[in-house]
């Protein structure tokens, strides 16, 4: 392979590629490749045969039958040959372990490959004094009975959990306030459990739009947001921020700040702060600042902090996994109740939770706080 000596970027690409290849080689070294390949070949061949039978059964296929039958052997052979080659390649390129590159590319890649659970925090911004939302304020103290089926205000999602697996996601409302509201995308369709946003034609900029904007922002594919960083923002690396874990291992986070280039034409955040693991490139925390929602004068800061990368059950992103308990109706779950099937607020984290995620300043909140370099 001719790889010219070059920039640091080129070197990091090479390092990343080497790490991915070696990871794949080691994985493939211990896999039962024969069974895997035969299974894949059989899948394609079954479909090819089904396709042929369907064409033969069709009255309009008479003129071309001999041609297609003659082609079956060639096509199947090509498919099988390509499949064999691709199967081997697939085992080489299968990756799951992060690498030394801390680029946004790697961050994006890991978002796709890992189950990530973020805690969502919502802060109403004042000019120089961002404050947490005061939920005791009368403005936010709506009676569930009087509010009927109205959607909860966005403030009720402060503290919500956002689970992400590639394009799939589940947003679970906070245990105390969102009362069973869950919203997700299972890979095929969007779904919502809990109160539905009210339909209103005379208030196009009202709460419905606010909630819509909010959901649009926090549940958008994280890929899109990070891609936007490179397309619509000026990104600056603020430095490395170090954390010493309880195990005595120093962890470093790359802190990036992105400022919008267009000054805020659409509803994307005015500024985004991003913390990624310097070794793995994994997204650890994300702050979206200057978020303006339709119909609201104030701006918000929306923060996502990684709480766990433990694997979630495959059904976790299905609507049925988060149905409210019908026995309770709108009653909020009681704290002393244990988790149950369909509980909208099951404990989201399997046993092996990573250390505390970094706070907004990039620190994990334990151990000596490191120096920003």
């Amino acid at each position: 392979m001719s790889i010219p000596p070059g920039s640091e970027t080129n070197d990091s690409h090479q390092e990343l590629a080497d790490d991915l290849v070696m990871d794949a080689i080691l994985q493939g070294h211990h896999l039962d490749r024969k069974i895997t390949l035969e299974s894949r070949i059989q899948r394609v061949m079954d479909d090819v045969n089904t396709s042929i039978h369907c064409r033969e059964d069709s009255p309009s296929s008479g003129k071309t039958r001999s041609h297609r039958l003659a082609r079956q052997g060639v096509g199947a052979a090509i498919a099988a040959a390509v499949l064999l080659a691709a199967g081997l390649t697939m085992m080489l390129v299968m990756t799951k372990t992060p690498t030394a590159t801390a680029s946004l590319d790697q961050t994006l890649r890991l978002i796709e490959r890992e189950d990530l659970t973020f805690r969502l925090e919502l802060t109403k911004e004042h000019l120089d004094n961002p404050t947490k939302i005061d939920l005791r304020s009368p403005r936010y103290r709506k009676s569930p009975r009087r509010s009927g089926r109205s959607a909860p205000p966005i403030e009720h999602f402060d503290g919500a959990a956002l689970h992400v697996r590639g394009p799939k996601y589940v947003l679970l409302g906070d245990r105390d306030r969102a009362r069973g509201l869950a919203k997700g995308f299972d890979g095929d369709a969007l779904w919502t459990n809990g109160p539905k946003p009210p339909r209103s034609n005379d208030n196009p900029e009202g709460g419905d739009s606010i909630l819509g904007d909010f959901f649009e922002l926090i549940t958008l594919d994280l890929h899109e947001l990070i891609r936007d960083l490179r397309e619509g923002y000026e990104v600056e690396i603020m430095g490395l921020e170090s954390v010493m874990t309880d195990d005595g291992v120093e962890q470093q986070f790359v802190h990036r700040r992105a400022d919008r280039l267009d000054g805020g034409i659409n509803r994307l955040p005015l500024q985004i702060h991003l913390w990624t693991d310097s070794e793995t490139g994994r997204l650890e925390a994300l702050d979206c600042r200057g978020v303006r929602l339709r119909g609201l004068n104030e701006t918000y800061e929306i923060s996502l902090t990684l709480e766990s990368d433990a694997q979630l059950p495959d059904t976790w992103f299905d609507r049925q996994s988060h149905l409210p308990d019908p026995k309770r109706g709108n009653q909020r779950p009681r704290e002393h109740d244990g988790p149950r099937i369909g509980d909208p607020f099951p404990p989201p984290f399997p046993p092996f939770a990573p250390p505390h995620p970094p706070q907004k300043n990039g620190h994990r909140g334990r151990g000596p706080i490191g120096q920003s370099r």
Partner: protein
């Protein structure tokens, strides 16, 4: 290589499997449009790219990152392995076992736990009473040592850098 390309563009493993199958089926169905004087690989990858675009339209998401440089490097490494003598993959990378033996004991142990016993880094960290990050770093270093070993044995061409 088609599957590699799919994986570089779509990271949902289940979706990759489905897209790969759809690519093969589509290739079979449209084989009469294939011009024999043109290379087969790019034609097939073109079909795969179309499948990927259709997938993103279906899930209503923008296509993910384009990291063509990394894929280019991976393809280069695979080409180097493919050019080695031997009929099978195992023969071409038979040096791997020797390289594994040359790893320091702790590195070899972690590699065995992770790749042979298929333990997650979390479980290994608990067993060895350290952090997951430390385990991941050790695994990464072990892979770098193996890459270096491959270069010394000629499986990989040594890459010259400015550093």
């Amino acid at each position: 290589m088609v599957l590699a390309m799919l994986r570089s563009m779509v990271f949902d493993k289940t979706a990759v499997d489905d897209l790969f199958q759809e690519t093969m089926i589509t290739a079979w169905r449209t084989l009469d449009r294939y011009e024999e004087d043109r290379p087969f690989g790019p034609w097939l990858r073109g079909i795969a790219r179309f499948q990927v675009l259709a997938y993103y339209r279906k899930v209503k998401r923008l296509p993910t990152v384009d990291h063509a440089k990394v894929v280019e490097h991976i393809e280069g490494r695979l080409d180097e392995i493919a050019s080695r003598p031997g009929d099978t993959w195992e023969e071409k990378i038979e040096a791997l076992d020797d390289c594994l033996q040359r790893l320091p004991d702790d590195a070899r142990n972690i590699v065995a736990l992770h790749y042979e016993q298929n333990l997650t880094t979390e479980v290994i960290a608990i067993r060895l009473r350290t952090s997951r990050e430390a385990i991941k770093k050790r695994l990464q270093r072990a892979r770098a040592r193996l890459t270096d070993c491959f270069e010394r044995k000629g499986l990989f061409l040594r890459v010259e850098t400015d550093a």
